[in-house]
Every structure is written in C-alpha cells, then in structure tokens.
Point group: C2
Chain length 259, copies 2
C-alpha cells in the first residue's frame, strides 16, 4: 500500500525520531518525563519511550525515577565538532585575547533554525554576568545585535523570510515587534557593517555585533554586550573597533571559513 508521499528509503525514520527526542532537551528544561518528551517532540508516547530508552542505553540520557535528563556525554558530540574545526587553537585564543583587551565578554555566533546559535565565548573576570549562555546556547534572533547582524549577512529577501518564520516575543518594553521595523535595522546593519541594539533583550544592556564571515559565506558574527555606560558613543566606538579587529583576525586565520 505504498503511498504517493513515498518516504525516502535512504532516510531512517526511527533514527530521525530518536534525534528529535535528543534535541528536545535544548531548552532550559533540565529534565522531563516521557510524556513531556513525547509532547515536545510531537511523537507518540511509545515512540518517544523507545527513543529515550535507547538514549539511556547509549549513555546520553540518565533516568532518575520517571525523570530523564542529559548526561555529560552529549558534550563529546560537540567536542568532535570543536576539535575538527580547531576551535581550541584557532578561535578560542583569538576571542580570549580580544576579550581581555576590550575587558568584555566576546561571543561568536551563527544562524540555526531561526535562532542564534552561540559557537564560542570568551569571558574575562570582572565582566558583566549575563544570563549565563555558553557555546551551544540559543538566543533570540530578532532582538539581539548578534541576531540582526546575522540577518544582515543574508540577502535581504531571505532575511525577511527567516524573520517571518520567527515569532517575536516582547522581552522588554524596548523590543521592536514590527517585522518591518526590525528589517530596517537589519538593513542598516548591513550597510554600516555593524549592529547595535539597546535594551531590546535585556533592559539596560547594549549589544554590539560585527560580521566575521566574508560576504556570500554562511553568516558568522562576533559580538558583545554591556550595561549602557555614561558615554554610549565612546563605548560603542571602542567596542566596535575591538570587535572589528577580532573579526579581522578570525577571518585572516580562516578559522571559520567552512562552517
């Protein structure tokens, strides 16, 4: 009874469903019940159960009573990527150095499924403590300087499409909620080669971002954020200059060319 919507024989649907189970843990939910996993992954409870139990056996999930949570082993998966791309040698040291010079936390990010995916982060002591994001965290696309700079790295129409598929929760009173207004800021960022946002994600915090990837490549950006200071213009100039230097060095090291 082969349907017309012929499932691709090259794709393993069981595997895809299992991956969906694993991916469900991306939110800040530390642990979940089977039913919750099933709901979030849009699968039958029995299906989710098989996926989860398989993950437990493989050591990626731990089962405490009826609660399931990720084990540190998932880090090894990311480790493969980081090692392969030499992040430890080519990216992290550069971020660290500029972060120290700028006296601020510097973040490298790219697009992933309509959100901003943090690739790497460098922290300096005395830095302002943010939400506690790390490499692998997702942050909103529309209301962060990183996100808008990433959109600016796409062709205008594509950026509009990505943005249209994103929902725009209002994080602060300053959050822009009109897609057109956001796209205008994106266009502005594209033109001037940097992006600033103020208080649209965290109140009182200004975000700064510059492109790292070369035009045409998958967009990669570097950015930082800090409480708004006494001389916003001077701060912006100093931080953007620092970020530009950092970005130039990453480009020169070809550290992010094939992401």
């Amino acid at each position: 009874m082969m349907t017309a919507a012929d499932q691709d024989r090259n794709i393993s649907s069981s595997f895809a469903k299992g991956l969906a189970v694993l991916a469900v843990f991306d939110a800040e939910t530390p642990c979940m019940t089977l039913a919750e996993i099933a709901r979030r992954s849009g699968q039958d409870r029995a299906t989710a159960r098989r996926g989860a139990l398989t993950l437990v056996q493989a050591g990626y999930l731990r089962q405490d009573g009826r609660m399931l949570s990720l084990t540190p082993r998932v880090l090894a998966l990311a480790g493969g990527f980081l090692q392969a791309n030499q992040f430890g040698r080519r990216v992290q040291p550069v971020l660290n150095r500029h972060a120290q010079q700028m006296e601020i936390e510097v973040t490298l990010a790219m697009l992933d499924q309509g959100r901003v995916l943090l690739l790497a982060q460098s922290t300096v002591e005395h830095g302002h403590i943010t939400y506690g994001f790390t490499a692998g965290s997702h942050i909103p696309l529309a209301h962060t300087s990183l996100g808008r700079m990433l959109l600016a790295g796409l062709p205008a129409e594509e950026a509009a499409k990505v943005l249209a598929e994103t929902d725009l929760p209002r994080h602060t009173e300053a959050s822009l909620t009109d897609p057109a207004a956001i796209l205008e800021r994106v266009a502005q960022a594209r033109e001037q080669g940097y992006c600033l946002t103020d208080s649209e994600f965290e109140s009182g915090i200004t975000g700064y971002a510059v492109p790292v990837s070369r035009p045409g490549q998958t967009p990669i950006v570097a950015g930082c954020s800090a409480p708004r200071g006494q001389q916003p213009e001077a701060d912006a100039e100093r931080l953007l200059r620092g970020l530009q230097l950092c970005a130039a060095e990453l480009r020169h090291a070809e550290a992010v060319d094939h992401l």
Copy 2:
C-alpha cells in the same frame, strides 16, 4: 528464527546505530567518507549510509561531495546540557576567576568510556598553548593528571578494571606503560588528595589535578598544566593550592553535584 538473546523491544536498534555514526566523529578526523564511517562504527556500509543521510537531513552532518563532516548544530545538543546544569553561571565564572588568579588555564573533567571527558575550561588569556582541547574533548586516562585523579576517585578495584580495559599508548619516553605502576600513582593520588604527572603526555609539561566531587559521587576533577619551570616544587604548591580553592568553591556552589 528468534534467538534466545532476545533483542530488547524497548530499544530502537536503528537509532542506536545512527547514534554510533554520529559518535564516530569524536576523533580529530574533520571529515570522512561513507566507507570510513562504516568501518569506524563497525557497521555495514549501507547501514552507515542511511544513518549519515539521516543526519544530513536533520542538519547535524554536511555533505561535500563524498565527504561528510559535522555541522555546528551538534553544539546545540551540548548546549542543552550546559544550560540545564547552569554551567554558564555556576561553573564557568568560577573557573575563569581562579584561572586568572593562577594565571593558567583550568579544566574540569570527568570519566567517559575509559577516557577523560573535558567538561569545561577557563577562557582567560594566558601564555602557554596546549593541544587546543575544548569542552567535549577526550584525553587519555592513564597518562594525564586529570585521568589519574579521576581513577583515584573510584574504588581501587574499579579503577583497576577501568584501567585494564584501556590501552596504554606511549605518548612520550616518560609515559608509564605498566598498569601496576600507574595504579600505584593513582593510589598515591587518592591518599594525598592531588595528582601530579610530568611529561607523560606532552614532553616537558607538568599536569596538576585535584578532586572536585565529594567521596562516593561520580568523580569530577579540576586540573591545569604548564611547562616545567625553574622551581617545580614552588609551582606545584602554588598551583595545587589554587586548584584546591577552585574545587572547594565549585563544591560549595553545588555546581557539579548531579553529574
């Protein structure tokens, strides 16, 4: 012809095989052909192919010609774990602070499949560049201070068993190759509450490690490494004291209690 060794109906074997494909990328191999994946994962080429193609469709792998490589999306899997355990807020700042005070890179690690899994690493600027390991990297168990301190966190017999299942490649001339000799160092580490190794993994580099987890918990350790200096004893005392402070703070913050 159902065998007596009845495969558990609760486990999805296709999913498990797919995961094995993903895990194969943990080595420093940036990209692989289908056949290579099949060989490394011990699967039939066709099976590996389905797994890989599924991963491509899910966005975790990218296909360039006949080469397959991980995409940054795998970071999101790790991000779930890091966010859930508040690494960004509870662990990373502590590591960074002590690293800055000690003027050296500090690493947090645990056991995973007979190897040392790096959980987090301080990101302060410093002089000495190591292999470029990052969170999620695996390093050897037997010839690093982190690894031996981890073994010391296990009951003696269990440590012996884990070590027996590990192979002991000789990284440098100084590498101990006799399991008994290694276990003796482990026992010593267990007694004195810290572990030093010298040149057994990288020539001329001394490794320092102390336990972080409480006795009985899954072992977690903190450590650092540096070129051997002029006054080894003074260095050791200073660094171990720093690591102990760092470990105590992590314990107090209960940052790593349920890993």
